[in-house]
Amino acid sequence: MISNSINRKIITLLKVQYSNMLEYRVEIGLWAISGIIPFFMLNIWTNNNLNESINISDVMLSRYFLCAFFVRQFSVVWVVFSFEEDSLMGKVSPYLIQPLNPFIRYFAQHIAEQITRFPFALIIAFFFFIFNPESIWIPNLGILLLSIISTFLSFIIQFLIQSIVACLCFWTEKASSIERLLFIPTLFLSGLLAPVASFPEYVKSWIYLTPFPYLIDFPANLLSGNQTSVFGGFSMQILWIFLLFPVFRKIWSAGTKKYTAMGS
């Protein structure tokens, strides 16, 4: 009964948010194109033969960066910016007096946006294969399924991290500046600019203790067929979700007590 009601809420939220996102289809197409950093990185790596230093072939490296692009497309999170704006404009107030946590709305917005992004990402992949025909491969169904799950878990980790930062809006109006600080390790340690395997051993040993390599490196390696520990990767993703969720609950609860309903 309860789960039916929650399912209905989520489905309606998704439908409405998807309709809303379709109003911005051109913008979403542009956002999808703007996520092509991995392809620039691929170019830098291959032109400088950097892949030789980490014993990875050109083909595997191009597949890795294509997968990194895909993982990034379906795990990108901007909740801190939405919440900050809504908080400053007083839009959070009506959400707070509804029997639905506002973050579920933002979650649905992200999922709806990912669904809208999907065809654009496929078009970009199509062009990638035209220019790199040697990279074409078809992952087996099991790997594909695991990669989708790990990408979704990566999205949840990023959503939780940003939601925790977003809740700081209850104390400081500009929580997004803290998110910008987090963007630096995310960029360098997640595998977006370089596979984590390329880092020196002593650096790798502590990078793997942070959530960052499980955001892009792990799902991208899994999908591209590069060597990775499936069990270890999933365990760490689940562990980080279990660690971050109570922190979010705690900070949300403390923050709403601090809320002043500014701007409304």
Partner: protein, 331 residues
Amino acid sequence: MSKNIIEVKHLSKSFDISSKEQGLKGTLKHFFRRQTKSLKVIKDINFEIKEGEIVGFLGANGAGKTTILKMLCGLIYPSEGSIIVSGSLPFRRKENFLKNITLIMGQKQQLIWDLPPIESFYLNASIYDLDKFEAKRRIKKLSDMLEIDDELFIPVRKLSLGQRMKSELLAALIHEPNILFLDEPTLGLDINAQRNLRKFLKKYNKETNATICLTSHYMKDITSLCQRVICVQNGSISYDGKLDLLLKRLSPVKEILIVCHSEKDATKLEESGFSIKNKTKNEITIKIENNLFTSALKTILNNFDIKDLYINEPPVDEIIGKILIKKDYDI
């Protein structure tokens, strides 16, 4: 006898406010050593509201009316005291409590800007666990009451302010709440839209026996909807009671414009001991205290030969304005 649906005891609220001195020196000082002070905006207030009542909160800007409404609906946490609304502690925001209330803030919208209002209505319906058929029935009923139809299918961004406000109301009432908190609901609306909104609220209150707590700077909202008002001054309650009594208390005199047959008659009236406001030729305006009004009127009619007579009640806006302009007005 209706039961109390809202009970507020010794309620206070303080906010931490940071202050900054003017100029570059002040800016640098503010950057390195931010000074904050605690400001008590609501000070030990008590009141009760009965089921089905429409209560208006009056006060100057910054008096604390909106802060009280925000605490009543559970949006902000009280610093001291207790609030019980519909048997619940508002700030806990339990599902049952949230399904019983709504908050409407003029110019603040919950509708999705780029989609037609109907999409937001069905979304709200699912948030409040209404099935599709029930949602459809309520949308039909409320849209009939609010007299909106085609607007339901036009993107919100293309609606006029009045149409948007009606849609906001529909979105906020789809779960048929028992308690409505309305903060300046007619802000920015034209006269007709204001009148329609008041008509709707009256009807909604009559049909559902909903309790309505309202703040507004448009006195017509207060006079046409509220029998009871709570005046808030500097965070304290200075008056809680019937609107009629407040008006009598704030305006203890009535004015009578008397048109005499001649200037001579007017002069005779002027010299008879009444308090004169002004006199022009054969017209004279006198001020009479409310409790002496009937006897004074009898005296005038019996002793003076007058052509015509007009009784002027001071405008409500002017009377209430005294509270708003002068923050420490003694009620």
